[in-house]
Symmetry: C3
Subunit: 223 residues, 3 copies
Amino acid sequence: MEFAADTVSTAQKTVDHVATFAFAVSGALLAVRKNYDVFGLAVLACAAAFGGGVIRDLIIAQGPPIAFVDQSYLWISLAAAAVIFVWHPPTRLTGWPLDVTDAVGLGLFCVTGTVKAYSSGLGAVPSALLGMVTAIGGGVVRDMLAGDQPGVLRWDRDLYAVPALVGASITALILHYGWYRLELSSAAAFVALVLRLLALHYHWHAPRARGSSRHRVESGEVP
Amino acid sequence: MEFAADTVSTAQKTVDHVATFAFAVSGALLAVRKNYDVFGLAVLACAAAFGGGVIRDLIIAQGPPIAFVDQSYLWISLAAAAVIFVWHPPTRLTGWPLDVTDAVGLGLFCVTGTVKAYSSGLGAVPSALLGMVTAIGGGVVRDMLAGDQPGVLRWDRDLYAVPALVGASITALILHYGWYRLELSSAAAFVALVLRLLALHYHWHAPRARGSSRHRVESGEVP
Amino acid sequence: MEFAADTVSTAQKTVDHVATFAFAVSGALLAVRKNYDVFGLAVLACAAAFGGGVIRDLIIAQGPPIAFVDQSYLWISLAAAAVIFVWHPPTRLTGWPLDVTDAVGLGLFCVTGTVKAYSSGLGAVPSALLGMVTAIGGGVVRDMLAGDQPGVLRWDRDLYAVPALVGASITALILHYGWYRLELSSAAAFVALVLRLLALHYHWHAPRARGSSRHRVESGEVP
């Protein structure tokens, strides 16, 4: 390792905690929108908060996922669920807070996921890929459990995977060249977060396959 | 370990077999309701029966999931699928048997899942959490494969996660204080099963987040 | 091991690459049909291509899934996504190419999945089961992410799990009796592929549970 493992693990954990709280809030807000009961809300909050990290930890195959070893992740997720249960915006106004908390989790997890994957011995490219999977995994699990199609796949949603991929790729480059410092990885998370917020604000969309787009317009088909 | 591993593993296996059969029946009954063919029925029976245990075994990370090492789980699930294929209630009457077999699997798996997690070295709280995940995992996998929203999340369904959590927590306490005996763990499974059946009979619901509930009533929105 | 590991791993990798490309094309074609943007298309192509193998590698529990260790799988999947993005049939004509590429992936993965499971030390029956899971896993992940019910479960779809199970079982028998040769495993893949294509061409369906079928016809219920 070119970087001090202790510093990484402390910073990693703090950032992971913040990202866990953010994703748990996003899951709880979706549960509010879906009108779940308090236990469904807690389950969806934990699923959103744990999803990406559990997938990452299963794939790097170095023992049980951190969320099942270190109880702090559980209590943080339940605290987020409790906060949203007693205090949350009206259902019709959950969209904006859900998107922003999701963006915070996305930005932070794409960096910590990449760092953890790289520390486990994966190469730079697989680490960036797994960092992106960590970042988008929680949202995919959350949306699928709630019966929605994952936002990352929908053409009518703003760019989602790209900010995570950019943040993860910057982090992988930093690690690959041995430049890892807390400031630089924070900058990578910040870039991913800002990109996602800009995508939300300006409704950045990616191009679609030409044939399907034309077909849709011609036929008026709703995909 | 404070308890005799041999006794645990024999009892664990017997109880796991019963729970596997129960969940496989629930999966097969859902397949009947959805009008699947015989192979879809077998796949859904196995998915329901294996789902929770595979998730548990992946998370405790001690080699391949038991269902892929010990063939007995496969044959039991296929036997359950065969029974339901040749003999099952009319489609409109599958609801009650499905709920009861699911409750049996839920009650038994929350105990065996907790015991297996604790035996693998996890702490008491993560073991209880993983026991609950083992118990509800099969039903979640079953419902999602069949295109239904998992019952554990739906506000209009009776309490589901709570009986599993109660049974898992009692088991974790028993293990934590070194009181583990077959009678006590059986009692924990019985408590979980009875709680779930009472929840079904009396339609116990959990409270929902106030804002969303009020909003729903005011607007007549169907969530 | 009764067979030369080197030969297996080289052939295994080549065949895995072809199957990966085929499944990635099937995912990309489904993305075209669903009118996803370019990133959703890449995500669905990778999910279809990696899904079965990642499930297999998680279950055999011998380190990180190959798709995250060996970058070739990623580039092959992205190449398939790129090809389909720039060149694909009109949306309404994606059905046939999707079915055929899916069948190619199914036939090849049921063999390589069984070989890899057997090489990892699992018995013949679990290896055949895991080979089938490897083959159908990518399609299940692809369909569920895209919000469709997995074809393997639907009674109105042609036989899907059975060709994979036949190919996996032949492979497991070959391995069990120590007859493993590239020609024989290729023949097993060919049998699975041809069975699936015949099932598609002649619309082979499996029988359904009698009660449900009768009920459906009587009531006109659409399952």
